[in-house]
C-alpha cells in the first residue's frame, strides 16, 4: 500500500464523517484542483502566454471551489467576481515586483538539483514565477471572499433595509476579524515547506546580507507577502461587490413589487 493512497483514504473517511455530503464534495474538489494544476502545467509546456493560462486556471479553480462546493447563488457569485478582480490586481502587482526583484527560476541553492537538466527550455520563467505566487495564495483568497460575502448575506437577510454604506462597513469588519488567522495560516504553510532552506542558510553560515539578497529567500518572502497583500485587498473588494450585488437584487425585487 502506498503512503499517499492510505493517507487520502483516511482523509476521505474523516471528511465524510465530519462534513457529510459537503465533506465528500470538498474532498473531490481537492482532487479536481490538483487536476487543474496538473493540466495547467501541461498547457504551459506548449502555450507561450503563460499569464493567460494562469488566469484561466484561476477562474476554473474559483468555479470549482465556489460553485461546486457551495452551489451557485448570489453569495458565491459575489465571491467569484471579487476573487477574479483581486487576482487580476495581484498579477499586475507581482509582475512589477518580479521585474525589479528578479526572483524567477531557480536559486543557487538548487544548483545541485537542476544541473542535470538543460535550462534553455524556451519558457519565460518570469511569468511562471507570477503563476506560482498566484496559485500559492488562491486558496486563501477564495476562502476570505466567501466568508465575507456569506456573512454579509446573513446580515442582509436579517435587515433588508440596510444602507449600502453600512453593509460595506460590516463586510470590512468581518474581513478584519479573519485577516490575522489567514495570514498566519499562509505563513506557517510556506515556512513549513522551507524549514530545510533556513537550516541550510544556518549550516552554511550565510551572513544576514547573503540571506536577504539570495534569490531563493527573496522569492519565498515575496510569495508570503504577496499572498498577504492579496488576502488584505480582497476584503474591501468583496465588501463593495457583495454590497452592490445584494442591493441590486433588492432594488429589482422592489421594482417588481411596485
Amino acid at each position: 500500500m502506498n503512503v499517499l493512497l492510505l493517507l487520502a483514504l483516511i482523509l476521505f473517511i474523516l471528511m465524510s464523517m465530519v462534513g457529510g455530503k459537503k465533506g465528500i464534495r470538498s474532498f473531490l474538489a481537492l482532487f479536481l484542483n490538483f487536476g487543474v494544476i496538473f493540466l495547467t502545467i501541461l498547457f504551459m509546456l506548449s502555450i507561450k502566454n503563460t499569464i493567460i493560462v494562469t488566469l484561466i486556471a484561476s477562474t476554473i479553480i474559483s468555479c470549482i471551489n465556489l460553485f461546486y462546493i457551495n452551489k451557485f447563488n448570489h453569495k458565491t457569485l459575489a465571491a467569484f467576481v471579487s476573487t477574479i478582480i483581486t487576482l487580476a490586481v495581484l498579477v499586475l502587482f507581482i509582475f512589477i515586483i518580479e521585474h525589479h526583484a528578479m526572483i524567477q527560476g531557480f536559486g543557487e541553492e538548487q544548483e545541485e538539483e537542476i544541473n542535470a537538466f538543460s535550462l534553455y527550455v524556451g519558457i519565460d520563467f518570469a511569468k511562471i514565477a507570477i503563476c506560482t505566487i498566484i496559485m500559492g495564495a488562491i486558496g486563501a483568497i477564495i476562502d476570505i471572499s466567501l466568508s465575507i460575502s456569506s456573512s454579509m448575506n446573513e446580515l442582509f437577510v436579517h435587515d433588508p433595509s440596510v444602507t449600502k454604506k453600512n453593509l460595506f462597513n460590516s463586510g470590512l469588519k468581518i474581513g478584519r476579524d479573519i485577516l490575522g488567522t489567514t495570514t498566519n495560516t499562509l505563513y506557517f504553510a510556506f515556512v513549513g515547506g522551507y524549514l530545510t532552506l533556513i537550516i541550510w542558510f544556518k549550516r552554511l553560515s550565510y551572513s544576514f546580507g547573503d540571506i536577504i539578497n539570495s534569490k531563493t529567500f527573496c522569492a519565498e518572502v515575496i510569495s508570503i507577502l504577496s499572498g498577504g497583500i492579496g488576502v488584505a485587498i480582497i476584503i474591501p473588494i468583496t465588501s463593495w461587490i457583495s454590497a452592490s450585488i445584494f442591493l441590486q437584487k433588492r432594488e429589482k425585487a422592489n421594482h417588481m413589487y411596485k
Binding site: V18, I41, S118, D124, L155, N166, K173, L179, R203, I233
Partner: protein, 387 residues
C-alpha cells in the same frame, strides 16, 4: 447556515462601530509612512554596509544573440551582454567596471540586467587601468524592503487594529522560529522534531493568546490545536511505518543538509499548524458566541450548529494548505517535463512529498473540528452555571 449561526453573525454586526480616523490614528499612519520612507532610503544607500563590492549598471549592450536548441528540441535564444557598471563601495568606489553576462529568454538560472540594477561583483586584481570583474549576484534588499513595507501599510490601512495585531503575531512567529532553529543548531545532539514540538507549543500558545486574549475559549482552542496537530502527525507516522514509506521520495526534497526523514516530519508539523489554529479559533468563537447569546441552548443544538460551521470551513481550509504546497513545485515540474522526463517519474519526484504534507495537514484540520467542538461543549457544560 443554521439560524443560530445567523444569530451569531447578526450580533457581530450590532456591535460594530463606524469609527472615523482619530487624530492619534492619523499620527500613527504618518509615523508608519515615515518609517517606511526611511527604510527605503537606507536600503537604497546602504552600499557601505556590505564588504562585497557592489556595482550599479549604467550601460548595457547586447553583443551576441544565438538561437539554441537542446536534445529535446526546446528552442531558446541566448544573449551575451556587455555591461558597464559603477562601483558603489570599497576602495574602488566611483570607478567604472566592465562585466559580461549571458542570459536566455527562459531565464531559469540566468538574468538579463538593465540600467539601475545593483550587482554584487568580484574584481579582477590584475588589471590596472580598466577594471574587470564577474557578476556574483543581484542586490535585492531594497525590493524586499519595499514589498514588506507595502504589506505592512496595506494590512494597517485595511485591517486597522486587527491588521496591527496580525503583523505583531507574524513578527513574533518569525523570531520564535529563528530562535528555535538556533537552539537546534547550538545543541547539536537533539532531534529537530523535538525542538519543533516545543516550538509548536509556544507558537500555539502565543499566537492564540494574542489573537483572542486570555479567556476560556482561547484555552480550549490551544488544547484542541495541540491535540489535532499531534494526532495528525501520529497518523502520518503510523501510515509511513505500515507502508514502509512506499511512495515517499525524499530524493525530491530540496536544500537538504541533514537526514530528510527527520526534517520532513518537522516540516509537516509546522506547515499544518497555522491552518489547524485557524479552525480551532473559528469553532471555539462560534460555539461560545452561540452559548453567550442563548444560555438555555440545548446540548444537541449546539453540537448541530458547530458541525455545520465545521462543514463550511473544512473545504476552504484544506484548499489553502493544498495550494500553498503544490504551487511551489510548478517551476521544477516544468523543467523536468521540458527535459523529457516521463510523467510518472516527474509526478512522484515532485508531488509525492507535497501531497503527503497537504494530506497530513488536511487530516489535522478535519480532526480538529470535532475535537474543538466536543471540548468547547465539555467546558461550557462543566462550568455548572447551567441547570
Amino acid at each position: 447556515m443554521s439560524p443560530l449561526y445567523s444569530q451569531h453573525i447578526r450580533n457581530l454586526f450590532s456591535k460594530q462601530k463606524f469609527n472615523k480616523l482619530s487624530r492619534k490614528q492619523i499620527f500613527l499612519y504618518i509615523l508608519g509612512i515615515c518609517c517606511l520612507c526611511i527604510a527605503l532610503i537606507v536600503t537604497n544607500h546602504n552600499y557601505s554596509l556590505y564588504k562585497k563590492p557592489i556595482a550599479e549598471v549604467v550601460k548595457t549592450n547586447v553583443v551576441e544573440k544565438n538561437k539554441s536548441a537542446d536534445l529535446n528540441h526546446n528552442k531558446d535564444t541566448v544573449y551575451s551582454q556587455e555591461i558597464v557598471a559603477k562601483i558603489m563601495n570599497g576602495k574602488y568606489k566611483g570607478r567604472l567596471i566592465h562585466l559580461e553576462n549571458t542570459y536566455s529568454y527562459s531565464g531559469a538560472y540566468d538574468q538579463k540586467y538593465t540600467v539601475g540594477t545593483d550587482l554584487f561583483v568580484s574584481l579582477e586584481k590584475n588589471s590596472q587601468h580598466v577594471l574587470n570583474g564577474t557578476i556574483e549576484g543581484v542586490k535585492r534588499d531594497k525590493q524586499v524592503t519595499a514589498v514588506a513595507g507595502l504589506f505592512i501599510l496595506i494590512l494597517l490601512a485595511i485591517g486597522r487594529k486587527q491588521g496591527f495585531y496580525s503583523i505583531i503575531s507574524l513578527f513574533i512567529n518569525i523570531v520564535l522560529l529563528i530562535g528555535a532553529l538556533n537552539v537546534y543548531l547550538a545543541l547539536g545532539n537533539v532531534s529537530l522534531l523535538a525542538v519543533c514540538i516545543v516550538a509548536v507549543v509556544l507558537f500555539t500558545v502565543i499566537s492564540l493568546l494574542l489573537v483572542s486574549g486570555n479567556q476560556e475559549k482561547t484555552h480550549v482552542a490551544i488544547i484542541s490545536t495541540l491535540i489535532g496537530t499531534f494526532v495528525a502527525l501520529l497518523i502520518a507516522y503510523i501510515v509511513m511505518q505500515l507502508t514502509d514509506s512506499n511512495g515517499l521520495h525524499y530524493e525530491g526534497m530540496e536544500f537538504v543538509t541533514i537526514p530528510p526523514q527527520k526534517i520532513f516530519m518537522s516540516e509537516v508539523l509546522i506547515g499544518s499548524l497555522g491552518a489547524v489554529m485557524d479552525v480551532a479559533i473559528t469553532i471555539t468563537s462560534s460555539v461560545y458566541e452561540l452559548y453567550e447569546k442563548n444560555k438555555e441552548i440545548a446540548h444537541k443544538d449546539l453540537l448541530k450548529s458547530g458541525k455545520e460551521i465545521g462543514g463550511d470551513i473544512m473545504g476552504a481550509m484544506t484548499n489553502i494548505l493544498f495550494f500553498s504546497y503544490i504551487s511551489g513545485t510548478i517551476p521544477m515540474v516544468l523543467l523536468y517535463l521540458k527535459n523529457g522526463s516521463p510523467l510518472g517519474y516527474t509526478f512522484s519526484m515532485n508531488f509525492s512529498l507535497e501531497l503527503i504534507r497537504a494530506l497530513t495537514g488536511s487530516i489535522g484540520i478535519v480532526l480538529t473540528i470535532p475535537i474543538t467542538l466536543y471540548l468547547s461543549i465539555l467546558f461550557i457544560f462543566r462550568k455548572g452555571n447551567r441547570k
